[in-house]
């Protein structure tokens, strides 16, 4: 059988593409190939290879391009069949923790999903003893897994810097004893950065995520200090510059959030790049629909256009010799993750957990504060044993919508929290997020092709 349900064709910037969702293959097409593949998709009489061969035999004009299509079919790279059953999973273990070291923040961003830092609970800081117990829990729970991850998150983690620093030192020492490696990440709003803190981050953190929404007016409109004094942008940009100057090639992201108030967010990405930052992420806001800044269905055409603009900006600056990296336009087409990884997605709830200042475990930072999703604690481990299984089973092959989607093995089903919020369960989808993710993928493939022009092919 030829599975046409997961083949997606599109054109962007004068280039044509076909994505074979089941195999993950991405093809750059000329006009004739695009026309033929679309014809095959729409032609009801073509159901299998023999039908296709006969169809091509009767139409000599398609002979040459048809032979190429048949070759891809035989290689399992076009109209390929999906897995008939879910492969048995290798054992999964907890390998990453998001430590909410501070349920407090010195900013009062209007769109904050963490309710301006307190996650709808008490404003509190994680004691070192809890962080220490979290490290021990991770070392235990990760079993044979060597590479472990800890993200210092909040709220604003710099409000509890001493605990961050001590936890890094403690974890490194314990990792040496266990023959493991910790990768640390910190996500900060930058207000509390000092030269000494930046130096420590640059020495010990594998990645640092620096929050900035772009242009001063865009940033300061939604990212304000608790007392609404002064420009946050003016305070953090010089601090970020100093920190990034010391990264020496290590990973970092200047990460922004775009909302309905800045649908021209490509300009914010350009602005961040102009400030001297080349590693950029810009995320759609996650908030309830009634807020002024919420992204809604009506904004979709404008957002999709903006992603296209951003893709052009990306290529222009690459051609000018001053490239930047946009997180969501990254796609690894040749050495990407295995199918097991693509079926596990973010791993929330069983590979990746969040820890509150009191040591409670939740499936991820987005679920913190929702009692129904409390899994256990860093001392007792996971006691709500049924819940991780629900997360594990919420993969694209079990979701009717995802199963027939060409993007399923690239997005892995999206954010479980967004899906749960919008669809009421883990196997439904957040349709708006899907549309954005599919557009970003289209742009990512376009960029990969644009970086190696079709006329230059071997």
């Amino acid at each position: 059988m030829l599975d046409k349900s997961c083949v997606h064709t599109y054109s962007q910037g004068g280039l044509h593409f076909a994505v074979d969702g089941n195999s993950g293959a991405v093809h750059l097409l000329d006009d004739a190939a695009l026309e033929l593949i679309n014809l095959i998709i729409s032609e009801r009489g073509i159901e299998n290879r023999a039908d296709l061969t006969e169809f091509l035999r009767q139409r000599p004009r398609w002979q040459e391009v048809g032979a190429e299509v048949l070759e891809l079919v035989d290689q399992g790279l076009l109209f390929s069949e999906d897995l008939t059953e879910v492969p048995p999973r290798p054992e999964t273990v907890v390998k990453a923790l998001c430590l909410n070291v501070a349920h407090d923040c010195n900013l009062r961003c209007s769109y904050c999903f963490a309710s301006t830092g307190d996650f709808k609970g008490e404003r509190e800081l994680m004691p070192f003893e809890v962080a220490q117990a979290a490290v021990e829990f991770l070392l235990r729970a990760s079993k044979h897994r060597r590479q472990l991850e800890i993200d210092f998150f909040g709220g604003e983690p710099l409000l509890n810097w001493d605990v961050v620093r001590r936890t890094v030192e403690y974890a490194q020492e314990r990792a040496r004893e266990h023959g493991k490696v910790f990768r640390f990440t910190i996500t900060t709003n930058g207000l509390g950065l000092t030269p000494a803190i930046s130096d420590f981050i640059n020495k010990h953190m594998y990645n640092v995520v620096l929050s900035l929404d772009g242009r001063r007016k865009v940033n300061d409109r939604v990212r304000q200090t608790a007392g609404q004094r002064g420009s946050v942008y003016d305070v953090v940009v010089p601090k970020y510059r100093e920190l990034v100057a010391g990264r020496k090639g290590r990973s970092y992201y200047v990460r922004g959030t775009f909302t309905a108030l800045n649908l021209d967010f490509a300009q914010d990405v350009a602005h961040i790049h102009d400030l001297g930052f080349a590693q950029i992420s810009m995320e759609p806001v996650v908030t309830s629909e009634e807020q002024d800044w919420a992204l809604r269905e009506e904004h979709l055409p404008r957002i999709l256009e903006e992603y296209e603009r951003l893709a052009e900006l990306y290529l222009e600056r690459q051609q000018e010799g001053r490239p930047f990296n946009f997180f969501h336009f990254n796609v690894e087409l040749k050495k990407g993750p295995c199918l097991y990884k693509r079926l596990s997605g973010c791993g929330a709830g069983y590979e990746y957990l969040a820890v509150t200042p009191q040591g409670e475990l939740y499936p991820c930072h987005q679920f913190v504060g929702n009692e129904d999703f409390r899994l256990g604690s860093v001392w007792d481990g996971i006691v709500h044993e049924e819940l991780p299984l629900r997360f594990k089973d919420a993969h694209v092959l079990n979701s009717p919508t995802c199963r027939s989607c060409w993007a399923k093995y690239y997005c892995s089903g999206g954010c479980p929290k967004n899906n749960w919020e919008k669809a009421g369960n883990f196997l439904g989808v957040d349709e708006l997020s899907c549309q954005l993710e599919k557009k970003r993928l289209e742009c990512a493939f376009y960029i990969q092709a644009g970086s190696q022009p079709y006329s230059d092919q071997e």
Binding site: Q75, C98, F113, R255, K335, P337, S412, S433
Partner: protein, 46 residues
């Protein structure tokens, strides 16, 4: 070499079932997003 179609990706994903699943790869949400999920941007650690 094809004249009309250039494949940008590698072999079918099904092939990775033979040797994948080591689990040493980065957790996707830890990298830069925290509010969405993308997996296809990661490189295999092997």
């Amino acid at each position: 070499m094809k004249k009309h179609i250039k494949t940008l990706s590698g072999t079918p994903l099904k092939n990775t079932l033979l040797h994948g699943g080591c689990g040493e790869c980065q957790t996707s949400c830890q990298s830069a997003c925290k509010t969405s999920c993308t997996v296809g941007n990661q490189a295999c650690e092997r």
